[in-house]
Subunit: 875 residues, 2 copies
C-alpha cells in the first residue's frame, strides 16, 4: 500500500477508479480533458480501508496530508478556508469504484461558519444566498456527519415559513434565514451537546469520517449484496470547490444523460432546476424542467454543455450520465460516468454505437448485464386487452415492462405481502433508499412525484423492474392506505396495472404478452450468437414451451421432462393404472395405452425442433407423485380399476417415502419396471422414425436420470438399447441417437470416468447435485436458507447461483474424468443454474458444450456465454 | 497364462492353492509329506477360466494333456482305464482356492463301464461291491454331470428293495444290483436320448466339464456372494485314484477335525461309517459313529490316523479338517484343509496353539474372521430363566448361541416370514444346499437328522448361527407344518428356543444374556489390544450402553447422541414445550428445565468412562421427530401448554418436511435456536467440571453435526465457545476440551481443509455421507437396494459395507485435505460402518485414529483393526 492517500484532480485519470473511486477518477479525467470542473482532490479507497483498521478514525498523517491538499485548493482558487472575505467552500462526496446511487452521503457548502458566511455574502453581494447556504450546510452536516434527525431542522424552517406566512423557502429573506441559522445552531447543540464546529478543518475531517463510515450503513450493505459488490472495496471521498446553482436565477443545476436512458434514443436527455443545488433535482422535491428548455433559456450554456457531452461520450465510448451546475451563467461539470440505462436502452445504445463506429460488436455485447435482458423479455400488455381497461392516470415511463398487482403502501407492507405470495405494486408519494427492499419485492413501482431521474426511476431501471414515476394526479396516503385519483379511491385490495414503457396506469389486471427478438435486440442477439462458443438449449416439455424457446433462439432442447406429459388430464388415468398394476402384464397393458400419446408428444416436439438436438429424459419422479391424494379421487380411481378403496390406499401408502428426493425414482424406476423404460424408448424412437420419414434429419438424445454407479447405468442402458434395436428391426429403418446420463448424484461426479465409458453425454443436474452436496432439500431449505443469508453465513442461495466453490469441485472433477475417459463426451447442464449468468460464464470456462435453461432465460444465457468469451480474451 | 493346465500331485504344493485349488494343493502337499494319498492329478483354475472363454467346452489341447496324465496314473497304479482285469477308477472332485463346502459337485467311481465292472469284481473278488459301485457311479454321473433327476434312480432302487422285501441297500445281492444297473442305464437313455457312455475318457471329460460348469450354479454363486468370494477365481478339478470305503466291513470312510470345531478342545474329533463311501457321512443319511470308537475297532488304523493328524497339524500350524477312507484296513487320506470352526473354537484353538508354541500371537489373531466373533457375543439363555421352560428334546450342539422364534418348516417360508419381521427357527428333517437362503434368514436352525458335520451344522457354524442338529426325537412334517415330539405337536405359531451350545431345545421364548470377555477370549482380546494401533470407541447414549461397551473393551465414546436423552419419558414434555415455544424466552424457560437432566446424563456417562474420551454430539434430528403424532397425545400436549389443539397441530404441520433427511436438522437447529446449543454446551461443561471436582481427568469432545460450510460451522462454534467460557467464568474452573464436527455432507468432505482450520477433530458420519453420496434415503432404499443386489447390480449394501470406491473417495479426500491443513486433526468414524470389519481395515489404511461402533461390535472392530496391522506388515 502506498503512503499517498490523497490525490489532486490533476494527479489522477479514469483508469484509477479502484483507488479514486468512479467519481474521483472521472473528475480527474475531465480535469485532464480541460473540461471546466471545480478543482479538488480525492481521498482514496485505500484510506477508507485503513480507516476501518484504525477503529473508524482518521489518523494523524492522513489529516496532515488532507491539510496540505486543502492548501493547494486554497492556492488554486485564491480562497481561504473560513475566510472573512473570500472563503473557500467545498463539497464532500463519496465515490466508490462502482457507482452506488443514493447509497452514500454528500455534504455541500462545507467551510461555512459564522465568519465565512459573511465573507460569502460580501463576495457574492448576496446575503440571502449566503445564509441560505449556511443553513443548508448546518442541516446537512448535522444530518449526514453527526446523525441528527433532519426533521428537527425542517421544523424550524416550517415554523419560520408559517410565521412569515410564506410557502416556499425562496420566499424567506436574509434576515429570516439568519434567524433560522441561529435556531439551527441551538438545535445542533441540544442534539449533540456541543457547539456547531466553526473550524472548517474540523468540519472537513468530520465529513470525511462520515463518508467513510457510510460505506457500512445498512442501505449500502444491502445495495452491495443486491448488486454483488465486494464489501472490501471501500469508497473514496471527493473534496471539491463549491460552485453554486442556487446563487440566483442565472444559476441552476441539473443532471443529464448523453442519450435517453429508458429508450436509448441518441438525444440529450435530462432535467434541471434553476436557482437550486444538486440534491434538489435528484430528491424529486421540486419537479424539474426538461434539458431542452435550457436551449431557449441559455443558448450559449446549452451549446457548451452539448459539446462537452459529445466530447465525453466520444472519449468514454459510452453513454454518459452527467451532473452540472450553472453558476452565474458559467457551466461547471460536477460528475460524469457511464450512465445506467434500461435493458432496452442498453441494447439500442450498444447497437447504435456500433453503427456510429464508436465501439465494436464484442464491446457492444459487454454493455448490458445478462440478467438485465430479463427486462426485455418481460411481458407487455396485450394490445387488444388494453382497450378493456380504463386508464386512470398518466405518469413518466421510468422503467419499461408491464405489471399488475394489489396496492401496497409501504416498502414493509410490500415485502410482507409479497412473501405471502401476493403480487403487489408498491405505490408511494416518492421512494427513498429505505424503500429498497419493498421495491425488490414488488411487481412494479408507481410514484406520484419525482422525475425520470428520481430515486424510484433510477433504482427500478437498475433492477429491470417496471416503474411509472411522477404520476401527479395520484394522491397517495400511506396512513389511510388509499390512492385517490380523479374522484376514485383505491385501497389495499384493488388491483392496478402499470406500463413502465408508456407511463400509463390502468384499473384491474391486464393480460400480458412477451416480446420477440426483433429490431435492435435481434441484431444485438445475432452478434451474441456469433461471438459465443457454448450452445444454449432450453428446458421444454410441451409444444407451447418449444415455440416460445425457439422465438428466443434456443439451439436445442437440453431437457424434455417426460413426466410432465404423464400429468396431462387425458393420460393420468392410464399412468395411475400402470402404477397400481399388480403384475407386469397389467402394467404393460396400461403402458400400451400411454405409448401412442408419448409418441405423439415427441413427434410434435421433434417436428418443431427440426434438426436441432432434443434430449429426452426418461421418467424421473417418484411414482407416488402421480397418484391421487383426495378421498374422492381415490374412490373414483378404485372404481375405475375395479379394486377396493382399501387396496388403492394400501398401494398409495406403500409408495409413500420418508425422503422421496433420495428415494425410488430416476433410473431406479426403470430397474424395477423395465417395461416403463422400454415404452419410453419405443415412443422416442418411433417418433424419431416418423419425423425422419417426414424428411427431417434427427438424432434423439436419451437421458437416463439419477445414475450413481456405472453398473446400474449399464443395466438400464441395456434395457433401452435392446428395445431400440427391436423398434429399428420392426420398422425396417434406424436413426442415429445418443445415450447419456445426468450427473446429479455426488457419486456419479466422483466416478465420472467409469460412467463416461458407457455414455455419449453428461448433463449436469445441478439442482439435485446441489441438494445432495449440501444436504439441502430444496423443498425444505427455504426456512433455513433465508436465515443463512440474513445472518450473513451464505452470500447467495446456492439454488440460484451455482456454488462454484463446493458443488463446482464435483462438476470440474466430472468434466475432467469424463473427458479423459471419453474424448467425444458431450457436456451440458440442465439444472436451473443453466440460465444464471455467473454460472453460465463459469461453465464456459469449465468447458461445457452447452447450457440448457427455461425459454425465458435463453437470451440471458446466450449473452452470458458470449461475454464469457470476450472476458476470457481480455484476460 | 502358462500353457500347463494339469499337475500331478507330486508337482504341486500347499502354496499353489490359487492355481490348484485348496484341495489340490493340499493333496500335493500330503503327497510330498509321504502321507498315504491315492495318487492323482489336478486340472487347474486357469483351465476353468479358459473353459468359460471357450464357450464352456474343454478344448483339444487340454483333453490331450488330461489323457497324458491319465496315462501316468495308469502307470503309477498299474491299472488301466476300462480294463477288464484291473480297471483304473477315479474320483472327480472340485476344489476352489477357497473352500466352498456343499457347493460344488463330486463324482465317484468314474471309469466303470460294462467291462470294467467285471474287472473290478474279479480283482476284488466281490461282485456285489463292483455292481454297487457301478450303479452308484451311473446315478451320480447322470445327476451331477448330465443333470438327470436323482429321484428317477432312487425309484428304481426302492422298487428293487420292495420287490426283494428288504430295507437297506446293503441287503441287495450282486444279482439284484446287476438288474439295478441295467435299469439305471435305461433310465439314463430315456432321460438323455443316448446310451450311458462306456468310454472312461469320455466319462472323465464330461465330469470335468460338469465340475467347471458347477462353478456357476446358483448355489455356488449365492455362497460366494455371502462369503465375499471373487467370482473370477474359478475352481480346479482333482482326479484321484479311487479307494473304497464300501469294500466290506474292513472298509470305511470318515471325516475328522484335529480339534473340536465347536469348542476348540484339543482332541481328535470326527465321525465315520463302516462299509460306506464318503458322501454317506456328509449327507447325514446314516448316523455315523464317533471317531474314538475306531480305536477299539481298528487300533492300528486309529494309531496311524492319529499320528498323521498330528503331523499335518504341526505342518500346517492350524487345526485340520480331514477326509479319510479305510480300504481293507488300509488308511488313505483324501483331503486335509484348515478346519472351519465356531468362533469359540477358533479363539480356543488360537490361544492353545500359542501356548503350545505352534503359532505366535500375531498369527493367532488372524485365525478368526472378525465378524465371526459375533458368535461369541451372541446372547445365551439366562440361567435362572431356563428353569421356567420345559426342555422338549435334545440334539447335538452343532453351532453355539441361543435363539428363539416361531417354527418355519421350509427355507422359503423362513425367508418370507423373516422379511416380514418375524423371528423364526428353521426346523427341518435335514438341510441341503437349497436351504441356504432360509438358513440366512432364520434366527436358528434345528434338524432331526445328521451329525456334527452334517450340512446344517457345517453351514450354521460358518455363518456363526445357532444350530442344533440330529435331534432324533423330532418328527418333522413339512407337509403338515408340524413337529411332533414325545406326544406333543408344535405348529407355525409356536415359539421354541434352541441352545446351540448344549443341543437342548425348549418350549417358549427364553430371556437371553450376553457373555463377557473372559478366559481364552479375554486373553485373545488382550493380544488384539496389544497389536492394533487404531482406537475403538463405541456409540453409546445411556449408562447401560456405556457399561456394556466397557465390558467389551470400548476405549472411549465416539458418538453420544443427545437426542436419545431427549426422548426419555420424564423430559419429552419439556422438549415439546421448547419446540412449540412461540418465542426465545419461552424456549429458554423450557430449556432451563432440561438443562439439569442433560447435565446429569453427561455426569453419569463421564463418571463411568473416567478418563476415556467422550464425544458428545449436539442435537441432530429434525424437531418434528420429538412431537406427538396421535390425536390423543396432541390434545394432552395442547392442554398442558394452554394452547388450542389447532395451534399445536399447526406448529406440527409447520415443522413437517418433504425430505427431513435434507432438512431442518443438525447444526441448522443451533443456528436457528442458539439457545438449544447453549443449553447443551452448558450441560456438557457443568457435568465435566463436576467429574473434575470428583477427581477425574476429563477432556470432553463436542461434536457439531451436519456442517457443510466452514462459515456455518464457525457461526455455531462461536455460540458454543462463548457459552463455555461463560460457564468457566461462573464456576471459576475450566477443563480442556475439543471441538469438532461430523463429516457427513459431501460438501464438507470436498472442502475439508477449510473445515479443519477451525476444528480439533473430524468424525465421519458415513451413514449420512452414504445417503447423500448415493442419493439413497436409508429409510426408503430398502425396496430398491434389495432389488439391486438381487439383480447383481450391487454386490453389497453400501449401508452395511462402506463403499470404498465412491464414498471412500470423499473420505480419503477429507483425510488428506484435513491433515494437510491441520496436522493435529484427530480423525474417527461414528457411522455404523465403524463396526464392519472390511471397513475398519480400510479406515486403518486411510489413516483414521479411531472407529466407533455399537457396543456389541467393539471386539469385532478391534480384531479387524489388529488384523489390518498384521496384514499391512505382511504385505
Amino acid at each position: 500500500m502506498t503512503e499517498k492517500f490523497v490525490y489532486d484532480f490533476n494527479e489522477g485519470n479514469k483508469d484509477m477508479r479502484t483507488l479514486l473511486g468512479g467519481k474521483g477518477a472521472n473528475l480527474a479525467e475531465m480535469t485532464n480533458l480541460k473540461i471546466r470542473v471545480p478543482y479538488g482532490f480525492t481521498v482514496t479507497t485505500e484510506a477508507c480501508a485503513r480507516f476501518y483498521l484504525e477503529d473508524e478514525k482518521l489518523w494523524d498523517s492522513l489529516k496532515e496530508e488532507i491539510r496540505e491538499h486543502v492548501k493547494t485548493l486554497e492556492k488554486v482558487n485564491d480562497k481561504k478556508f473560513g475566510d472573512n472575505d473570500n472563503p473557500l467552500l467545498v463539497s464532500v462526496r463519496s465515490g466508490a469504484p462502482i457507482s452506488m446511487p443514493g447509497m452514500m452521503d454528500t455534504i455541500l457548502n462545507l467551510g461555512l461558519n459564522d465568519q465565512a458566511v459573511l465573507g460569502l455574502a460580501n463576495l457574492t453581494d448576496n446575503e440571502r444566498f449566503a445564509f441560505d447556504s449556511y443553513r443548508r450546510f448546518i442541516q446537512m452536516f448535522a444530518d449526514v456527519a453527526m446523525g441528527v434527525e433532519k426533521n428537527k431542522f425542517e421544523e424550524v424552517l416550517t415554523n419560520k415559513k408559517n410565521e412569515k406566512g410564506v410557502e416556499l423557502d425562496t420566499q424567506l429573506t436574509a434576515e429570516d434565514l439568519k434567524d433560522v441559522v441561529k435556531k439551527y445552531k441551538v438545535v445542533y447543540k441540544q442534539a449533540l451537546g456541543e457547539e456547531f464546529p466553526q473550524d472548517p478543518a474540523e468540519q472537513l475531517e468530520k465529513a470525511i469520517t462520515a463518508v467513510f463510515a457510510s460505506w457500512n450503513n445498512d442501505r449500502a450493505i444491502l445495495y452491495r449484496k443486491l448488486n454483488d459488490i465486494d464489501d472490501k472495496m471501500g469508497t473514496a471521498v471527493n473534496v471539491q470547490t463549491m460552485v453554486f446553482g442556487n446563487m440566483g436565477d442565472d444559476s441552476g443545476t441539473g443532471v443529464a444523460f448523453s442519450r435517453n436512458p429508458a429508450t436509448g434514443e441518441n438525444r440529450l436527455f435530462g432535467e434541471y432546476l434553476m436557482n437550486a443545488q444538486g440534491e434538489d433535482v435528484v430528491a424529486g422535491v421540486r419537479t424539474p424542467q426538461e434539458i431542452k428548455t435550457l436551449e431557449e433559456k441559455m443558448p450559449e450554456v446549452y451549446e457548451e454543455f452539448s459539446k462537452t457531452v459529445k466530447t465525453l461520450e466520444d472519449h468514454y465510448h459510452d453513454m454518459q450520465d452527467l451532473e452540472f451546475t450553472i453558476e452565474n451563467k458559467k457551466l461547471f461539470l460536477l460528475q460524469t460516468r457511464n450512465g445506467k440505462r434500461t435493458a432496452q436502452a442498453a441494447v439500442k445504445v450498444a447497437v447504435d454505437m456500433v453503427h456510429e463506429g464508436l465501439i465494436d460488436e464484442k464491446t457492444a455485447i459487454t454493455r448490458i448485464a445478462p440478467k438485465d435482458l430479463d427486462g426485455l423479455l418481460h411481458p407487455t400488455f396485450k394490445e387488444d386487452k388494453l382497450k378493456e381497461h380504463e386508464q386512470i392516470a398518466q405518469g413518466l415511463a421510468a422503467s419499461p415492462g408491464a405489471a399488475s398487482g394489489k396496492i401496497a403502501f409501504s416498502a414493509k407492507e410490500a415485502k410482507q405481502r409479497a412473501e405471502k405470495g401476493e403480487e403487489v405494486i408498491l405505490v408511494r408519494e416518492e421512494t427513498s433508499p429505505e424503500d429498497l427492499e419493498g421495491m425488490v419485492s414488488a411487481k412494479g413501482i408507481l410514484t406520484a412525484r419525482g422525475g425520470m431521474t428520481s430515486h424510484a426511476a433510477v433504482v427500478a431501471r437498475g433492477m429491470g423492474k417496471c416503474c411509472v414515476s411522477g404520476a401527479h394526479d395520484l394522491i397517495v396516503s400511506e396512513k389511510d392506505a388509499t390512492v385517490k385519483v380523479n374522484g376514485k379511491t383505491y385501497g389495499k385490495d384493488d388491483v392496478i396495472s402499470i406500463d413502465g414503457s408508456t407511463g400509463k396506469i390502468y384499473e384491474g389486471d391486464i393480460e400480458k404478452e412477451t416480446p420477440k427478438l426483433e429490431g435492435d435486440f435481434g441484431e444485438f442477439m445475432s452478434w451474441v450468437d456469433d461471438i459465443k462458443e457454448m450452445k444454449v438449449r432450453t428446458n421444454a416439455d410441451s409444444p407451447r414451451d418449444v415455440r416460445q424457446a425457439l422465438t428466443f433462439g434456443a439451439e436445442g432442447i437440453g431437457l424434455c421432462r417426460t413426466e410432465h406429459m404423464f400429468f396431462k388430464e387425458d393420460r393420468i388415468f392410464q399412468v395411475r393404472k400402470m402404477i397400481l398394476a399388480d403384475d407386469t402384464q397389467t402394467r404393460e397393458k396400461a403402458l400400451e395405452k400411454i405409448l401412442p400419446m408419448q409418441e405423439d408428444d415427441f413427434y410434435q416436439i421433434y417436428s418443431l425442433m427440426q434438426d436441432k438436438p432434443v434430449t429426452v429424459r426418461l421418467l424421473d419422479p417418484p411414482l407416488h407423485e402421480f397418484l391421487p391424494k383426495g378421498e374422492y379421487e381415490i374412490r373414483l380411481l378404485a372404481k375405475d380399476l375395479d379394486k377396493s378403496v382399501a387396496e388403492v390406499k394400501a398401494r398409495i401408502a406403500e409408495l409413500q417415502e420418508v425422503n422421496p428426493m433420495l428415494g425410488f425414482r430416476g433410473l431406479r424406476l426403470c430397474i424395477a419396471y423395465p417395461e416403463i423404460g422400454r415404452m419410453q424408448a419405443r415412443a422416442i424412437m418411433q417418433a424419431a422414425l416418423h419425423v425422419k420419414a417426414d424428411g427431417t434429419n434427427i438424432r434423439p438424445e436419451i437421458m437416463i436420470p439419477l445414475a450413481g454407479d456405472v453398473k446400474e447405468l449399464a443395466y438400464v442402458k441395456n434395457i433401452i438399447t435392446e428395445e431400440i434395436e427391436k423398434v429399428f428391426e420392426e420398422k425396417g429403418d434406424r436413426v442415429d441417437y445418443l445415450l447419456g446420463t445426468m450427473i446429479e448424484i455426488p457419486r456419479a461426479a466422483l466416478l465420472a470416468d467409469e460412467i463416461a465409458e458407457i455414455t455419449d453425454f453428461f448433463s449436469f443436474g445441478t439442482n439435485d447435485l446441489t441438494q445432495m452436496t449440501y444436504g439441502f432439500s430444496r423443498d425444505d431449505a427455504g426456512k433455513f436458507l433465508k436465515m443463512y443469508i440474513d445472518k450473513g453465513i451464505f452470500e447467495k442461495d446456492p439454488f440460484q447461483v451455482l456454488d462454484q466453490h463446493g458443488v463446482g469441485k464435483l462438476v470440474e472433477n466430472a468434466v475432467k474424468l469424463g473427458r479423459e475417459q471419453n474424448s467425444k463426451l458431450h457436456l451440458g447442464i440442465c439444472g436451473e443454474h443453466g440460465g444464471e449468468p455467473s454460472t453460465v460464464k463459469y461453465l464456459y470456462n469449465v468447458g461445457l458444450d452447452y447450457v440448457s435453461c427455461s425459454p425465458f432465460r435463453v437470451p440471458i444465457a446466450k449473452l452470458a456465454a458470449a461475454q464469457a468469451v470476450v472476458e476470457k480474451e481480455n484476460k
